[in-house]
């Protein structure tokens, strides 16, 4: 069959459980945010805030990415997944480690529980990393594959540093305070893992969904070297030299890389064949534009432009919030609508194509629910931005309820897609 990508598609049992776990994690995340309330405005390294952050980046974001990436391996690499068995083992280990980790942070159990969680996390992410890297070994060697490889390496380094931090709670060998290493850990994860993966995958998916052609690939190449080079220098400086005056320079290098990527997306948007933008792509476009927000905040933080000491902590919270809820979450919300319906549609309707009239992938979910969810989500963003800047607990409460609504609507649509019943009509009708 002409080496088609769907010949290599993994089975549903590999792809769907991470989507289910991730969607439910998002729902639980919103409940935890409600329970934390004004605690969200406190110091970012408090136990409950760490529990929420890790549930957001691991249970919600990384778990969905896991499922989506298994499906996208053939699309990006032109090769099937190396081992489905390893993917199943990874899912169970990773899921268990997330539950343990969130419990450990929520209850501030920084010794035994955290140690088990971090060890299990490192093992499960190593399995995941090996599975993806081995799949890529014989695949297409393009810039997207390089991004995915870089993302996996950053993810493993993030998990390793997380494990070392957890071990240090029991064995105390670090020369600096925990916060110093937490900062590096967070940047390896947010910039290294998520940003590399987002650029790598979205540079395949965005032109595909927009139907844009003849895009300048040099933007992606420059972006690759600048973002990864800048982050590598930043991490080494922090680790070895504990942070020199060159830190802002590394930020500028990373920001330059992001700007090249944004230029790539701009070109894809301008040259797009499909003028109508559906819910999934609305989220995606706004998420990509939101990349500018942490860039601006980081400049304000590092150059202390207009930031008094009392505002510094809020700016740091805002910085993390803008990455997790400005970029990563809407991107996943949006791309769920672009990937999950196709996965289920292919599985359910492949035997019927040409024989019966079948629904389209977009008919598997409610666009109306998706639209309400979209506007509610951006209402949440605005409310939380003001809540953090003004330190207003009332706004935190309103934002939390709205976010719960978003998570409920998202889960309704996800489960509507997953449990879709086959509907066919005769071709003559």
């Amino acid at each position: 069959m002409n080496n088609l990508q769907t010949d290599n598609a993994p089975s549903l049992s590999v792809v769907i459980p991470p989507f289910i776990f991730g969607s439910l994690s998002f729902l639980i995340l919103t409940v935890l945010i409600m329970l934390t309330g004004s605690g969200l405005l406190g110091v970012y390294f408090a136990g409950k805030l760490l529990a929420i952050t890790h549930l957001a980046v691991l249970g919600w974001s990384t778990m969905i990415v896991l499922g989506a990436l298994y499906q996208l391996v053939p699309v990006v690499f032109g090769q099937g997944l190396y081992s489905e068995k390893l993917a199943h083992i990874t899912f169970w280990l990773f899921g268990l480690s997330i539950i343990l980790l969130v419990y450990a942070f929520w209850t501030s159990s920084y010794t035994t529980e955290l140690l088990y969680a971090a060890s299990l996390m490192f093992i499960s992410l190593s399995f995941f990393g090996f599975n993806i890297l081995l799949s890529q070994r014989k695949g297409i060697q393009n810039i997207q594959a390089k991004y995915v490889t870089a993302a996996i390496i950053w993810l493993l380094l993030t998990a390793l540093l997380g494990l070392l931090i957890a071990l240090n709670f029991s064995f105390h060998y670090f020369s600096e305070v925990h916060l110093h290493y937490l900062k590096i850990h967070a940047h390896l994860g947010l910039v290294g893992w998520f940003l590399s993966l987002i650029i790598g995958i979205s540079s395949t998916l965005i032109p595909m969904f927009f139907i844009s052609h003849q895009l300048d690939q040099n933007n992606l190449k420059y972006s690759f070297y600048l973002t990864n080079g800048g982050l590598g220098l930043l991490a080494l400086d922090w680790l070895i030299l504990q942070g020199t005056f060159l830190i802002p320079l590394y930020w500028m290098i990373i920001s330059g890389g992001i700007l090249f990527y944004l230029n790539f997306v701009r070109e894809a948007y301008v040259k797009r064949l499909r003028k109508e933008i559906d819910t999934g792509m609305k989220y995606t476009v706004l998420a990509v534009l939101s990349m500018l927000l942490p860039m601006v905040i980081s400049i304000l933080i590092y150059f202390k432009l207009g930031i008094e000491n009392s505002f510094h902590m809020r700016a740091v919270t805002l910085y993390g919030f803008s990455i997790i809820f400005g970029l990563i979450t809407p991107l996943i919300l949006g791309q769920t609508y672009k990937t999950l319906p196709f996965i289920i549609w292919l599985h359910k309707y492949k035997p019927y194509v040409g024989k019966f009239k079948t629904p389209l992938p977009k008919d598997l979910y409610s666009e109306a629910i998706g639209t309400v969810q979209f506007f509610s989500y951006y209402a949440v963003m605005i409310v939380f931005l003001f809540a953090i800047i003004l330190q207003n607990t009332m706004l935190v409460t309103i934002g939390s309820y709205l976010l719960l609504l978003v998570a409920l609507l998202y889960n309704i649509n996800v489960f509507k897609i997953i449990f879709h019943k086959i509907q066919t009509e005769s071709l003559s009708s």
Binding site: M1, N2, N3, L4, Q5, T6, D7, A9, Q71, P74, V75, V76, G78, T204, P207, M208, F209, I211, H213, Q214, L273, R274, K275, E276, F342, W345, L346, Y349, K350, V353, G354, K355, L360, P361, L427
Partner: protein, 106 residues
């Protein structure tokens, strides 16, 4: 072996059938989308179709190919259909028909 006129006639019918095969993502039929590069009927029982996808990484590729084969077999059950996927020349938006451009709001 059929006459040249009969062959042309059947090729016309086959093309009409392909107007009912949709690209599920773009929601436009594959003929107006410009995905069909050539369609040749040999006058006996074989049809060779050269086609492409809007992107080489098209995740719905084999669903489209299956739909092509099945749609033709619904009308011509005895025909063997060889669908060859090619990416040279690569598909561009210029290949979309005027009708297709109108349907896509271009």
């Amino acid at each position: 072996m059929k006459s040249v006129e009969e062959i042309k006639n059947i090729e016309g019918q086959l093309e009409q059938i392909l107007y009912n095969v949709m690209d599920p993502e773009i929601n436009l039929n594959i003929v107006d989308l410009g995905l069909i590069y050539s369609l040749v009927y040999d006058g006996e029982n074989d049809v060779v179709i050269k086609m492409t996808f809007s992107t080489p990484a098209c995740p719905l590729g084999d669903a489209i190919v299956m739909s092509v084969k099945q749609s033709i077999n619904n009308v011509f059950p005895d025909y063997g259909i060889d669908v060859q996927i090619v990416f040279d020349p690569p598909w561009t938006t210029e290949m979309i028909s005027e009708n297709g451009k109108m349907m896509l709001g271009m």
